[in-house]
Amino acid sequence: MASILAVDDSSSMRQMVSFTLKGAGYQVTEAADGQEALNKAKAQQFDLIITDVNMPVMDGITFIRHLRGEANYRFTPMLMLTTESAADKKAEGKAAGATGWIVKPFNPDQLLNTIKKVLR
C-alpha cells in the first residue's frame, strides 16, 4: 500500500489526516515541521507528501522546494494544505514544486477523494 508523509504542526490536524488515511489503508508517517519531514523523507521513500504551509522551523513551501530537489522525489505528488485566503500561497507553492493543494477546512471524505486522484 502507498506510503504517505503527513506534515502539520497542529497535532489535531495531523491526527485527523493520519487517522483518515490509515483507515483507508495507507501507511502514514507524521512530521511536525518541514525540517522533520525533510529528514524523514530522505530516510524513507514516500509515495505522497501532504504538508501544511505555516509551520515553525521550516515552512511547507520551503520543505517542498527542498524535497523536489531530491533525485528520488522529482515526480512524487506533493500536496499543500492551504486556506482559502492564501491564493498567493498556492502560486508560491506551485513555484516551489507542489503538485496541488487541499483547501482547509476539509473533511475526511474530501481528503480521501483528493488522495485517490493522485495515488493509484
Binding site: M13, Q15, M16, F19, G100, F106, P108, V118
Partner: protein
C-alpha cells in the same frame, strides 16, 4: 467512509489553548516595541492553526472570528500594517474572546455572542481603517462565477489541453488528469496532437510535448467540474473548454475561482457537532517518559519470571541467596517504576508561569508603574496537581509585589533607582522540594507599618519584642493588610493568610525576607508530589507516627542539663545557641508513652516556615517511602495531621503535619503562657 471528528476535539482544544498562550506572550513581546518578524510569524501561525482546526472540526464561529484576526496579522506580517499599541490591545482582547469561545464550546455551553460581536466589530474597525494593501484577503468577491455558469448544454464538452513542457516537474501527470476527466463522462474520446513534438535529439525525456483534444459526451457534466480537474495545473497549461453543441456560443473568458472547492464544506461539517465528547481531562506526556516506563515494566517482568522459577522445584538453601537477589531487584525495579510513573505526572512550571506576562502587563498599566518581569527555571517540573493549585497563590503574590512592593516611577527615581521595577519569578529544585521565588526590587516591607498594624488589630501585644523575621511573618496572619488605600487588586486583608493556607494544603511552606529599600523575596517550598513522601517512622507508646524527612533538622539524645522549663509547663531545649520548644506529642494526641521522662526518649528537631520545635518521641524506627492517603476524603480533617498511610505490617499510621503541629502547639501554649513566644 464516515469518520467521527469528535475524537480529535480534545487534542484540538488542548493545542488551541496552547496556541492562545503563545499568541498572548508573543503579543506582549510585540508591545515592548520589538517588531520582530519571527515573533509576528509565530503569532500568525497560532491563529492560522486555530482557524484551520476550528473550520475542520466544525466550529464555524471560531473559524470566522479567527479569520479576521489572521487577516490583520497577515497584514502586519507583510509590513502592510504598522504595529501599534492599539492593534496589539485589540488582538489581546481577541485572544481573550477566543479563549472564552473555545472554553464555552468545550464545556458545551453557549458562546457569549454579544461579546464576540463586539470584539469582531473592533477588529473590523481596524481592518476597514486605512487599508494599505488590497484589503482583507478573505473578502475576495466571487465575481468570476457569474459568466461561467454554463450548465450542461446537451451533448458534452470539447477540451483542448496543452500542458507546458515542465508540468511533470511538480509531480502532476497528464495521464492522471485525463483519467479524471474521463471519469466525469459516460463516453469520451481522447486525441493526441503531436505537432509540437521536437526532433528526437532535442527531447527532454522528462518534458511534456503532446497536446490533447478530449471530448466528453454526457448530459450532466458542468464546466466547473472540468475546471476543478485542472485547478492544480492552471498555470502550467493552456486550456480551452467548449461545449460540444453545434452552434452554441462559446462562453466567455477563462477565469477561474479557486475558492469554489470548499463551497460545499460547511453543510457537511455541522453533522459531527453534537456527538459524544469525552469529559476526561488528558495530560500530554513526552514519549521518552513512556518508553522509560515500558522499559521498567520489561525489567519487572524479567524479575518476576526469575522469582517464579522458585516455585517450580523444591526449595533448598542454595535458592535462598538467589531469592534474596531477586527480591532486592524487585524492590529497586518497583521503586524505579514508581519514579517513572510519578514523572509522567510531572509538568514544567511554565504552565503556571505563562499567565504572568499578561497579568503584569495589565496591572502595571492599571497602576501606572513600569515593571519588567523576569522569569527563570520555567522548565522545572512538578506534579500536575500541585501545579494546578499553585497558580492562584502565585498570582496573589505577584499582584502583591506589584501593588505593594514596586514603588511608583517617581518615588523610584527619587530613591535613586531605575524607573522600571523588576519582578523576578524563579523556580528550581532543592532536595526533594521545588522552590519558587517571587522577588521584587521595591521598597521592601515596612517594619514600622506592620508593627503598628499588628498592634492595632491586636495580633500582638503592645510591649512584645519581635525579631525581623517574626515581624515580616505577621503579614501571613489572618486579617492583616497594610495597604493605605484598598485597591481592587490587593489589600483587602484577605490574602496572605489564604496564600499561606493554600500552600500549606499542598504540603508546602511560604516565607518572606525583605530588606528596606532593596525589595522583598517570597519563597515557596513545595513537595514534588502529593502522593508519596519520604517518611521517618517514630514510635510513641504503641503508636507509630510518620514525620516527613524533609522537615527533620536533626535527632538527638536528651541531656538533662539542656532542658529549661519556662513559665507554666512549657519547656525549651538548649541546642547550641538556640532555644527550641519541646513538644510532647503524646500530650497533644493524648496517648500513653513508654516513658514521660525526656531522657528516656529522643528529641527530633523539625523545622517549618522558619520555626523549629523539638518533638519528643520514644524511638526512631526507620525511614521509608509512604503513600499518602488523605484523611479528609476518608475520614475528616485532623489538625496537626496531614494524612495517613498503611505500613508494611498492615497498620495505619498518621503522618504529622509539622507546620500544623507548630501552630497547634503555639495556640496551646499561648493559652497557658503567652510570653513563651519571645523565647522561641
Amino acid at each position: 467512509m464516515s469518520i467521527d471528528l469528535a475524537q480529535f476535539h480534545e487534542t484540538f482544544f488542548e493545542e488551541s489553548f496552547e496556541g492562545l498562550d503563545v499568541m498572548e506572550s508573543g503579543l506582549l513581546e510585540l508591545e515592548q516595541g520589538e517588531v520582530d518578524l519571527e515573533n509576528i510569524n509565530t503569532i500568525f501561525r497560532s491563529a492560522h492553526s486555530i482557524k484551520g482546526g476550528s473550520g475542520t472540526f466544525g466550529f464555524t464561529a471560531v473559524a470566522d472570528f479567527t479569520h479576521d484576526m489572521e487577516t490583520l496579522l497577515d497584514q502586519m506580517r507583510n509590513g502592510d500594517r504598522q504595529v501599534t499599541a492599539d492593534i496589539v490591545n485589540v488582538l489581546l482582547g481577541c485572544v481573550d474572546t477566543l479563549r472564552s469561545m473555545l472554553t464555552a464550546i468545550k464545556d458545551k455551553e453557549d458562546v457569549d455572542v454579544t461579546a464576540v460581536a463586539e470584539m469582531s466589530a473592533k477588529l473590523q474597525a481596524i481592518l476597514n481603517g486605512e487599508v494599505v494593501h488590497d484589503g482583507a484577503p478573505g473578502e475576495q468577491v466571487n465575481d468570476t462565477v457569474v459568466t461561467s455558469k454554463e450548465q450542461s448544454t446537451g451533448d458534452g464538452w470539447n477540451i483542448c489541453f496543452t500542458p507546458f513542457q515542465d508540468i511533470m516537474k511538480t509531480g502532476n501527470d497528464t495521464v492522471r488528469l485525463i483519467r479524471e476527466l474521463r471519469e466525469l463522462a459516460q463516453e469520451s474520446e481522447v486525441e493526441a496532437i503531436t505537432d509540437n513534438l521536437p526532433a528526437l535529439e532535442e527531447i527532454d525525456p522528462e518534458g511534456s510535448y503532446i497536446s490533447w483534444n478530449i471530448r466528453l459526451y454526457g448530459q450532466d457534466i458542468n464546466e466547473e467540474e472540468i475546471r476543478e480537474v485542472f485547478a492544480w495545473v492552471d498555470d502550467e497549461c493552456e486550456l480551452e473548454i467548449k461545449p460540444l453543441v453545434v452552434g452554441a456560443a462559446y462562453t466567455g473568458p477563462e477565469r477561474r475561482d479557486d475558492s469554489r472547492r470548499q463551497e460545499d464544506a460547511p453543510d457537511r461539517r455541522s453533522t459531527d457537532r453534537r456527538s459524544k465528547a469525552s469529559e476526561s481531562s488528558s495530560i500530554r506526556v513526552n514519549i521518552s517518559k513512556v518508553d522509560e516506563l515500558i522499559n521498567m515494566v520489561g525489567e519487572l517482568v524479567i524479575t518476576q519470571s526469575m522469582l517464579s522459577q522458585f516455585g517450580d522445584d523444591e526449595f533448598n538453601e542454595q535458592h535462598l541467596e538467589r531469592l534474596k537477589d531477586g527480591l532486592s531487584q524487585l524492590e529497586s525495579h518497583t521503586r524505579e517504576l514508581q519514579e517513572s510513573v510519578m514523572r509522567i505526572r510531572m509538568m514544567p512550571i511554565s504552565f503556571a508561569f505563562q499567565r504572568f506576562p499578561r497579568l503584569v502587563h495589565d496591572l502595571s498599566t492599571q497602576f501606572g508603574k513600569k515593571i519588567e518581569l523576569v522569569m527563570s527555571g520555567e522548565n522545572t517540573e512538578l506534579d500536575k496537581t500541585v501545579l494546578e493549585k499553585i497558580g492562584d497563590p502565585l498570582v496573589h503574590l505577584v499582584r502583591n509585589s506589584l501593588d505593594h512592593g514596586i514603588e511608583s516611577p517617581e518615588s523610584r527615581i527619587n530613591a535613586g533607582k531605575s524607573e522600571t521595577g523588576v519582578i523576578e519569578l524563579k523556580a528550581y529544585h532543592q532536595g526533594g522540594n521545588i522552590v519558587i521565588e517571587i522577588r521584587d526590587d521595591g521598597a521592601g516591607l515596612n517594619k514600622e507599618k506592620i508593627l503598628t498594624k499588628a498592634r492595632d488589630n491586636n495580633l500582638i501585644g503592645n510591649d512584645e519584642r519581635l525579631s525581623d523575621e517574626q515581624i515580616y511573618d505577621l503579614i501571613f496572619r489572618p486579617g492583616f493588610s497594610t495597604a493605605d488605600v484598598i485597591s481592587d487588586v490587593s489589600g483587602r486583608g484577605v490574602g496572605m493568610d489564604v496564600v499561606r493556607r493554600n500552600i500549606r494544603e499542598l504540603g508546602g511552606a511560604v516565607d518572606v525576607a525583605s530588606s528596606p529599600g532593596e525589595g522583598s523575596v517570597f519563597t515557596i517550598r513545595l513537595p514534588l508530589t502529593l502522593a508519596i513522601l519520604d517518611g521517618q517512622l517514630v514510635g510513641i507508646g504503641d503508636e507509630t507516627y510518620i514525620l516527613p524527612v524533609i522537615s527533620i533538622v536533626e535527632s538527638l539524645q536528651v541531656r538533662e542539663e539542656n532542658i529549661n522549663a519556662v513559665a507554666g509547663n512549657a519547656e525549651v531545649y538548649r541546642l547550641r545557641e538556640e532555644y527550641i520548644p519541646i513538644v510532647r506529642l503524646y500530650q497533644i494526641f493524648d496517648i500513653q508513652p513508654a516513658s514521660e521522662k525526656l531522657s528516656d526518649g529522643l528529641l527530633v528537631v523539625v523545622e517549618a516556615e522558619g520555626k523549629k520545635i523539638a518533638i519528643f518521641v520514644d524511638d526512631l524506627l526507620g525511614q521509608q517511602q509512604v503513600v499518602i492517603k488523605s484523611l479528609e476524603t476518608n475520614f475528616r480533617k485532623v489538625e496537626g495531621v496531614s494524612g495517613a498511610t498503611i505500613l508494611g505490617n498492615g497498620t495505619v499510621s498518621l503522618i504529622i503535619d509539622i507546620a500544623g503541629l507548630i501552630e497547634l502547639y503555639q495556640n496551646d501554649i499561648a493559652g497557658l503562657a503567652p510570653s513563651v513566644k519571645g523565647a522561641a
